[in-house]
């Protein structure tokens, strides 16, 4: 039934817009309450009946996707959760998509956090994404969670040269020396890729300055929309790809589902949250067009009178 639920409001929105367009061509203005109804329907419909639009990955997202896709299976990836619950709706979908992609390409992941609040959000990803999707993978063999260490940039300063100095064991107390992944990982330099998801400080920028640049490791970043513009100057030399805001997450999810059909039916919170955004943006743009048409028709009407 959701199909009908989607179709009716969509037909209503676009039918209504066309009707308003026709009115505008006749030089009639739109009342503001009509605009309000359109916005409400455009936002509420995709929340009730998830509508997703196919997102095409922009180069800055595609670069990161391709890097993970093309690393030889068994590569080691470090992934840091540097955010808090307030930022989570925006960036956690990225973390989930990146983790899924890496694990399905059979890479090994080391999870960590620079924010104390990242720990519980990291557990959410492990519990609700990795366990159900990859039941055969073993904690400590295919991925390791080393948890949180206080010290912000200080932590980065240490792990850039010696990872185990800062993280002697994983969260379960198992010494890293006894974990196979760490046989070939001594410092951050030994990771094939570092993924950092966050948006505050310390965050992607600090990873670039304290780890990526000195140790010459490729860094991929998932960041909140507000800080994304600050990262662009580092792309593509110091940061190989950036997922900016919900849109970045949606593009990545879309790309992932296209390349790996097993993820077609997965939860796609990024794409789902883009639903209301896209519809609302389209409605606003349509009203800008209608407004201009009404303006020019109205002006011509007045001139001829």
């Amino acid at each position: 039934m959701p199909d009908v639920g989607v179709m009716v409001p969509l037909v209503a929105i676009f039918g209504g817009l066309i009707w308003l367009l026709v009115r505008a061509i006749r030089g009639r203005e739109v009342e503001r309450r009509v605009i309000f109804i359109f916005i409400f329907v455009a936002v509420a419909t995709p929340i009730l009946f998830p509508i997703t639009f196919q997102e095409h990955a922009t180069p800055v997202v595609k670069d990161l996707f391709d890097r993970i896709e093309n690393l030889p299976p068994g590569s080691t990836i470090l992934m840091s959760f540097d955010f808090d619950p307030a930022m989570a709706p925006e960036v956690q979908p990225m973390a989930n998509a990146l983790a899924r992609h890496s694990l399905t390409r059979e890479h090994k992941i080391v999870f960590m956090c620079l924010w104390a609040t990242g720990q519980s959000l990291l557990n959410t990803t492990l519990e609700y994404v990795i366990k159900p999707d990859f039941p055969h993978l073993v904690d400590g063999v295919d991925f390791v969670n080393v948890g949180y260490k206080a010290g912000n940039e200080g932590v980065l300063n240490v792990i850039v040269s010696d990872f185990k100095k800062m993280f002697p064991t994983d969260v379960n107390g198992v010494p890293l020396d006894s974990i196979e992944i760490f046989d070939k990982v001594g410092s951050c330099r030994d990771f094939d890729l570092i993924l950092t998801v966050g948006g505050g400080r310390p965050g992607p920028k600090e990873w670039v300055l304290f780890v990526g640049d000195p140790a010459n490791v490729p860094i991929g970043a998932g960041v909140a929309a507000v800080v994304a513009p600050q990262l662009y100057p580092y792309y593509p030399r110091q940061v190989i790809g950036i997922l900016g805001g919900i849109k970045g997450a949606a593009e990545y999810e879309s790309e992932l589902a296209q390349t790996h059909p097993r993820f077609e039916d997965m939860e796609k919170p990024g794409l789902r949250m883009m639903g209301p955004q896209t519809l609302a943006h389209v409605v606003i743009m349509a009203f800008i067009v209608i407004g201009n048409i009404a303006f020019f028709r109205g002006r011509r009407g007045r001139k001829t009178e």
Partner: protein, 274 residues
């Protein structure tokens, strides 16, 4: 109020009670304070709808929500002011006894006597209520105006003038790592990345000219004619692009706010989605 208003209000009250009961029933499984929480969620939802109803037009529900909001929030900030400023900052400096009463650490210091000055000025402010000595309330206002003017003078000079001027020093002919790689590469790398020479240069030129012409626009003491007028015209264009871009950029955040409220209604209240 006419009859139809009464009917509408009555229907809403019935719906409220119904929602409260249903919500409490649905919460009773997992929550031992289900009656209270059912009420709180129902109230939050109805207040949310009351505000939305303003988009149609002013109405008694909006008036109710508005008046409740004003009363509760005014008291909220006054209480916060009392606990954080009076109890948190003033009492520890002025009175050992009261510090003990409120259980805040006393901070004795010979300079503490200065903190009587704002207290006295605060009392002078209350003189506003007296017809005869009302003019005394200008003294604390004068102190505040002086404080604001003095503090902001240097603050804005630094952050809005000096910093912005010095960060506008941009190279107009490229710099490392944008070394000259031949004309073809120069033109064809028109992308955002750091390798895009033409784009990087274009950015620098636009920042330089944009800031320059923008400042020209703000000139007060010169008629905007001739070359000066043309520069000021360019300045307005840059400002207009700025305003349009910032407006467009904000839309996404605003839609998210509405998504948040609608999700609250559909999920936490109506339980239509999970």
């Amino acid at each position: 109020m006419n009859r139809s208003t009464y009917i509408v209000v009555g229907v809403v009250v019935v719906l409220f009670l119904l929602s409260w009961i249903l919500k409490a029933v649905s919460l009773s499984g997992e929550d031992h304070r289900y009656i209270l929480h059912g009420f709180l969620i129902t109230m939050s939802a109805f207040l949310t709808l009351a505000i939305f109803s303003f988009l149609y037009r002013d109405n008694p529900f909006y008036k109710f929500a508005e008046h409740l909001f004003v009363g509760v929030s005014a008291a909220f900030w006054m209480t916060q002011g009392f606990w954080s400023t009076i109890v948190g900052n003033l009492i520890p400096r002025l009175s050992a006894g009261f510090s003990e009463f409120f259980m805040v650490p006393h901070q004795p210091s010979p300079w503490n006597i200065a903190y009587w000055i704002p207290v006295i000025l605060g009392i002078l402010l209350l003189m506003r209520l007296s017809a005869k000595y009302g003019w005394l309330s200008r003294w604390p206002l004068a102190l505040i105006v002086g404080t604001t003017a003095g503090l902001n003078f240097v603050r804005y000079l630094r952050s809005d003038f000096i910093v912005q001027v010095s960060s506008t020093f941009v190279p107009l002919l490229g710099r490392e790592p944008h070394q000259w790689q031949g004309g073809g590469a120069f033109i064809s790398h028109l992308d955002l990345s750091a390798t895009g020479q033409l784009a990087a240069l274009l950015t620098n030129w636009i920042i330089f000219l944009g800031v320059f012409c923008g400042i020209v626009y703000f000139f007060f003491s010169k008629e905007h004619t001739g070359v000066f007028g043309r520069a000021s015209r360019v300045g307005i264009w840059v400002l207009m692009i700025t305003f349009g871009a910032s407006f467009g950029y904000t839309v996404m955040g605003r839609i998210s706010l509405l998504v948040g409220r609608v999700t609250f209604l559909f999920r936490d209240w109506l339980e239509l989605i999970s």
